[in-house]
Point group: C2
Chain length 290, copies 2
């Protein structure tokens, strides 16, 4: 396993650029290299000094990398793995910041050779804003990062990736890709879907009367459509089941309300309040809400 001299980030949006900036801030001696398939993004990245070197050629960007971090929409991973596979040096670690982990593991095992180590990463950080202009070198401070390992994942590579995220400020937890996709389907992808459904169900004139509640409840629906479309499509089965779960709960509330069942309505509301209060308490204790 190589020492870390160069880390290459492919995809220089808000998340990718925050990774290069955070590495520059926290890892002295590691060279950051960036690549974006868009010339205008590469230009901006150079102008803003987001990475030490921004390459015009994807092969060139990874040829001397000890670690490559994909920070593009999940659906592009398979194609990028194919594109860079031949250019990766032996012993290189490949990871990513995608919100889905099952398919990336399968693609990596199929496409990347046996001399390259894949580990899945999912830092729970981001923003509904888009673009490297909004990148922050402290985006990962006090956040969680989930790492995923399959039966074929190298423990040494996993340890290396773990130390990287810890250095950037994350508390790291390891799980299987299947476990990851089930959990994040429910706590992240399905909430995104309900926010989108709420906005789509609303009338453009009527929502002018919306207050802070609607604004907060639907905030995530302003996230980039292409990124989220990829997430939903690559975690489809979990999303389908999660939507069914929400519809079931909505139907319970509807029935209780239309039956004027005061006790049932109050219980559904107070159960949610209690569960959320416990969550907030847990997050505060873990200093995850700043």
């Amino acid at each position: 396993m190589k020492q870390l001299h160069q880390i290459t980030v492919i995809g220089l949006g808000l998340l990718g650029s925050s990774v290069t900036l955070a590495i520059s801030r926290s890892l002295a001696g590691v060279k950051t290299v960036g690549y974006s398939h868009r010339a205008v993004t590469r230009e901006k990245a150079r102008h803003l000094g987001v990475a030490e070197l921004v390459c015009d050629d994807i092969h060139e960007s990874v040829r001397e990398a000890d670690m490559v971090i994909l920070s593009t929409p999940v659906c592009t991973f398979e194609g990028i793995f194919r594109e860079i596979a031949g250019a990766l040096p032996d012993g290189c670690i490949v990871t990513d910041v995608g919100s889905v982990k099952g398919l990336p593991h399968r693609w990596a095992e199929k496409v990347l050779g046996p001399k390259v180590y894949y580990v899945g990463s999912h830092p729970i950080a981001g923003s509904e804003k888009r673009g490297l202009e909004f990148a922050r070198d402290d985006l990962f401070v006090s956040t969680r990062c989930i790492l995923t390992r399959s039966a074929r994942t190298s423990s040494a590579a996993l340890g290396r990736v773990r130390r990287l995220w810890q250095t950037l400020g994350c508390s790291v937890r390891v799980m299987t890709p299947a476990e990851h996709d089930r959990i994040f389907g429910r706590v992240s992808h399905v909430p995104h879907v309900t926010a989108v459904a709420l906005v789509n169900a609303s009338n453009a004139e009527e929502i002018k009367y919306a207050g802070k509640g609607f604004i907060d409840t639907t905030r995530v629906a302003s996230g980039p459509a292409n990124v989220w479309s990829d997430i939903l499509l690559t975690n489809a089965e979990n999303i389908g089941r999660g939507i069914d779960g929400v519809i079931k709960e909505l139907t319970k509330i509807k029935r209780a309300v239309l039956n004027k069942d005061v006790k049932a309505v109050e219980k559904l509301l107070s159960d949610a309040g209690d569960k959320r209060a416990a969550l907030i308490k847990y997050k505060m204790k873990n200093k995850e809400l700043l």
Copy 2:
């Protein structure tokens, strides 16, 4: 129509106490009187100086009031109207801060005599926090306040209530109770229901992995269960229809995702993003997002 010398607020939670504090700040010469049915709340209200006078007796609290503002859960309005009807001076204006307006209008017309004027108010302000400790004298600054009038509402009383809310910092819009309940069913009550459904559909262990998206999307679910239970039950038909609308949109997304219909998924997501962007732009222009 009387001049405003005394305004009585019944119910001294976060909203009621913010009303008395805001009146004290903005309306010199108007005496603020408060009443709560709980002795412990009255004690706290006196201790914190939330109103000039806090009465132990509800009749006494309204006997010299030029305006009475109900700030209790909507379901209590009919009972309170009955209780105070005999004690209200002729010409008194009665209003409220409830989130539902159809039933309060019907109750007022049935219970309050012809010498008392009822106008519905719904200031779009509040918090998921509870209790007078969180009251703020600037809670209504730069917010909207909806006033509701039926065929029997006095224009003079409406004008008086309108000036009150404007003085507290609200921009006022007048509509019918039916229009109000339809609109706020969709932009406020149904989003509350979806937040509750999301929390109830989640697994207590799994939500420990929730990020900022889940926290924001479900924030309103921490609102007081008794207040929201009242809102849902008094606006039941609109809530039922609104939940159906959200389920319809959830089902569209589910179908597109399970069919791996990339174009359909992207369109559903970008439609929501565009609609929400227009909303944020409108709110910024109106300085309603501070």
